[in-house]
Symmetry: C2
């Protein structure tokens, strides 16, 4: 397995080191190549994602990313120039975010019940396309626009992916989240697409929720969700909600997939670079390790993925929730469990 | 006080009847005129909001609305043709949604702490403007767009309103919620506007949260929020989250304000028409009564508003949370408390 690794900023390098430790414990054949991208490279060189680096990344089987970002960088530079550019250039149209409440993990909800959902967020369209502008900036007549672009091609492929995942799960249930009563144009395309594709998956039951009502259900009844499919911006919000009710972004893994397999997919913990705790050795690498699990699953290494996920599940169920996290100790434990 | 009343659909008429009962108990001078608008009028006549009705509504000091909607109506018809049309025609640029965890109310959070926030959601711009379209519908080449429009005029007036509310509250804290790192054009206008207006309110401390991170804080630490200002779509989501963590939309009140006073403002419970329980007498009218409190406050009747709010607070703190709600009994109790 040829793996490109982007440790990035803040706690990124620390959690990636542990993720690689666990990966190597189950997949000794990994050849990893580090790429220096992120806030510090931009500050040193002004470079975000040189084309030559992008070309090299394309030559890999997968990419593992730690975290990108630093408060000293103005908003949008690293996001649009690096993180989102990677998603768009590598056609990561499936942004995959599982959210499961593991045994031993405390939810902020009083009665969370069993939570085990898979959010399938569109990754290359919607309000994220960067189609917008400003007219008469800094005058009383300023107008700023943002355009959400949604194509049949783009919606259909992510909806089909979500159905494929749903049909393979015990509950076989899919919820579309949108705001069809207000965003009637995009909403209609999403609704019609779900309806059409559902004909190919008669075993899958389908539900629809407006994003506002859905957000409430994440708090009052998250167990109702199995697979969720939604657009890029709604997905950004509801996947963080899903993470919050299942123990926080310290445990939230994600995959940015080109489901066609043309480009390498990229796996990253959802948490950011957390510069406040960088270097102190207390960042929880579990989300990165779970992202490694997604990487292995995506590459068809189901046995190895299962070992990683089982190690995390066991470790979480036996951790003392009061004890402080030590990044390396967690990595050591998980590597031993997964590899042993 | 000349009040236009739109009972609407489902449980709307039931909760509005109780809201009016409480209103009359504190403000005997109310002259109310009912307007038949909503799903049933549309189904009978095809009419949504005739211009003559709109003209009549304009002649009032305020509008009280119950709920609009029925599953038999395709998504968007009543929303775009009636609810949103009212907001746009009457320039309801401030969508005001307080969220307070009253004593005696159970939150779905394990440790909610004290929650008392005021969400100021923009009401006439953003992705709600209905600017979008569909190209090549029902073909594999379909493209659907939604345009978010944001103007200096529109953002500035709602941001200023939010600061005015923040400075009048004990904590004097304001949080802007947006997604400036992705929606860079609109985000920049919102950020710059908050920065500029903040110079006029040096006592107010200002924070910023991306909407995804903010959504998590609604679950993990809602007590951090005091006044929130945000755009129309983000506001739709986070106000429902705020409602969820403070006991649900059964208690969530809202005001759609033309803060300039040119047009009458409109007050409505956030819950929908709930057709499943319509006619059974179990809908909770408390959100409508709290909306009446907002109406009174908006009309400068602070003493009457206080009586209504105090009645609700007392009643909630003494209600048996297990006992089923009876719509009329709650209305009777609140009217007696507020008027006595
Ligand atoms: C950093 C940001 C661009 C990104 C997003 O909005 O997609 C992040 O919030 C995420 O969810 O991966
Ligand atoms: C019914 C719908 C148009 C409305 C909105 O999205 O604003 C509702 O959700 C609300 O929050 O008042």
């Amino acid at each position: 397995m040829r793996l490109a690794v982007i440790p990035g900023d803040g706690i990124g390098p620390e959690v990636v080191a542990e993720g690689l430790k666990v990966l190597r414990a189950v997949a000794p054949d990994v050849e990893s190549t580090p790429y220096d991208l992120g806030a510090s490279r931009w500050q040193r060189t002004g470079e975000l994602l040189p084309d030559t680096v992008l070309d090299e990344l394309r030559q890999h089987d997968g990419i593992l990313l730690g975290a990108i970002g630093d408060p000293s960088v103005p908003p949008g530079i690293l996001e649009r120039g690096l993180l989102l550019r990677l998603r768009f250039e590598l056609d990561h149209h499936v942004n995959l975010r599982p959210a499961r409440l593991f045994d031993g993990v405390r939810s902020p909800l009083a009665g969370p019940g069993a939570i085990d959902m898979l959010c399938v967020r569109e990754g290359t369209e919607g309000p994220y396309v960067g189609n917008g502008g400003v007219l008469r900036r800094d005058t009383p007549h300023e107008v700023a626009t943002e355009v959400s672009l949604n194509t049949a091609f783009g919606v259909e492929r992510v909806v089909r992916y979500a159905f494929e995942r749903a049909v393979a799960r015990p509950r076989k249930h899919l919820t579309l989240i949108h705001k069809t009563n207000v965003l009637t144009h995009a909403g209609s395309l999403w609704s019609r697409t779900v309806e059409e594709v559902s004909a190919e998956f008669p075993e899958v039951t389908v539900a629809y929720q407006h994003v506002d009502a859905a957000s409430m259900f994440f708090v009052t009844d998250p167990g109702r969700f199995d697979v969720i499919v939604t657009d890029n911006l709604f997905g950004d919000i509801v996947t963080d909600l899903a993470a919050a009710v299942t123990g926080g972004i310290g445990l939230a893994a994600s995959g940015n997939l080109d489901a066609s397999g043309t480009n390498p997919s990229m796996f990253e913990p959802v948490h950011g670079s957390a510069p406040d705790i960088a270097g102190t050795g207390v960042a929880d690498p579990t989300a990165t390790v779970l992202s490694v699990g997604l990487l292995l699953e995506h590459l068809g290494r189901a046995d190895q993925a299962r070992k990683v996920n089982a190690a995390v599940a066991f470790d979480l169920s036996t951790r003392d929730p009061q004890a402080p996290v030590r990044t390396q100790e967690v990595g050591d434990r998980l590597a031993a469990l997964a590899g042993g």
